[in-house]
Symmetry: C2
Subunit: 223 residues, 2 copies
């Protein structure tokens, strides 16, 4: 990552205060979590009040991107270079301990802070949308109709540079109090993962239309 | 819902501005989405900056609850009756249209606004933790060790009354421009759902310990 990144020396905001062992500042970890998710939660402030909006995201280099309608109140509020917090969370399992107190969840998450940037140049917008579609289904951009000038205009694309980001995660079995290990109760982890079902063809699709290979063997780690 | 709810007559904040047809203010819809998820994103403001923290949530009546360590900076920031936005999002599928512009996601989400309340009375805290554990695995509370007084003290429980909440969702196939339906490209939905794998026993568990019935047939709609 270029100069100026603070990922390896966390700022006051990104330092994980609780459970230090769950913090991870390495860029590769942060990128991997962002890349494994498809849905981020963007936090922003309007008139002093917090808002959290879920939206699709994708990563390209040192930026995380999201987009929507140019008429969106949410995106207008985020476009003016205001502070945002982009959080991506992947739920990996339920941690079932021997005591109520130690019940928990396995997860991977990233929080990234900064000022949202508007992507306004036409070529950059087109490239960003290609990255979005390719993130959903690799190879799809070549199959579909590209955006028209009017569609590009109607699309607002925002991004956040990953200068101030941290990862937090929990893995592994429950950590029970020593005395509780003698209790006669099942304990362990129930793994969770987001999985894809069989593709559902659009009712208006001609029946002979082949399903893209990328969909046939779609695998998601989790979202 | 008791007097004072605004769910059926949305406030300025909860009115879904974009895509009105995706808005849903009915209490049953809001409750169902909150109940289907296990991981919420809590937005709050510190020194004017937005923060979005993922955490486990559960619903009990007209409240959504979350909890954590009493030493948590995040929970301390939320405990003082400050404004929060609790968002729960369930990703249901990728919407693969014939144009890049109409690519989308199927999802269900709830945004709830208000001032977080601290649950401080011991009996109420115990009940709330029971609801949490029972949400994870029905029947589990009776099997495990209940929290000690010290553990209860070390646990901060927050809740938000669902007075100002709205749901937003997208279902169904892509909506393409009429001319694009003639394009020779597969279009439809790739359904996604969070699913549980086989339970992983804690390495320190005696091998003869039976797996709870509730885990054997665990089903999650999505998170």
């Amino acid at each position: 990552m270029p100069d100026g990144t603070k990922q390896d020396s966390p700022t006051d905001r990104t330092r994980v205060r609780r459970m230090h062992e769950r913090g991870a500042y390495e860029r590769a970890t942060i990128h991997a979590i962002l890349d494994a998710g498809m849905l981020c939660h963007v936090g922003y402030v309007i008139d002093g009040e917090p808002y959290v909006t879920p939206t699709a995201h994708w990563r390209d280099g040192d930026y995380v991107y999201w987009h929507g309608s140019s008429a969106s109140r949410m995106l207008r509020a985020q476009s003016a270079g205001v502070a945002v917090c982009v959080t991506v969370s992947l739920l990996d399992g339920l941690v079932l301990a021997r005591s109520g107190f130690h019940h928990s969840m396995n997860y991977r998450s990233v929080m990234a802070f900064g000022a949202a940037e508007l992507v306004s140049e036409t070529g950059a917008k087109l490239h960003a949308l290609k990255m979005f579609v390719e993130r959903l289904v690799p190879g799809r951009w070549a199959e579909i109709r590209e955006p028209s000038a009017q569609e590009l205009k109607a699309t607002t694309i925002l991004r956040l540079r990953l200068d101030e980001a941290s990862a937090k995660l929990r893995v592994g079995p429950p950590k029970d109090d020593e005395a509780d290990y003698a209790l006669p109760v099942w304990a362990g982890v129930l793994p969770l993962s987001l999985t894809a079902g069989p593709p559902l063809a659009d009712p208006r699709l001609p029946p002979e239309t082949p399903v893209p290979d990328a969909l046939a063997d779609f695998a998601l780690s989790n979202i």
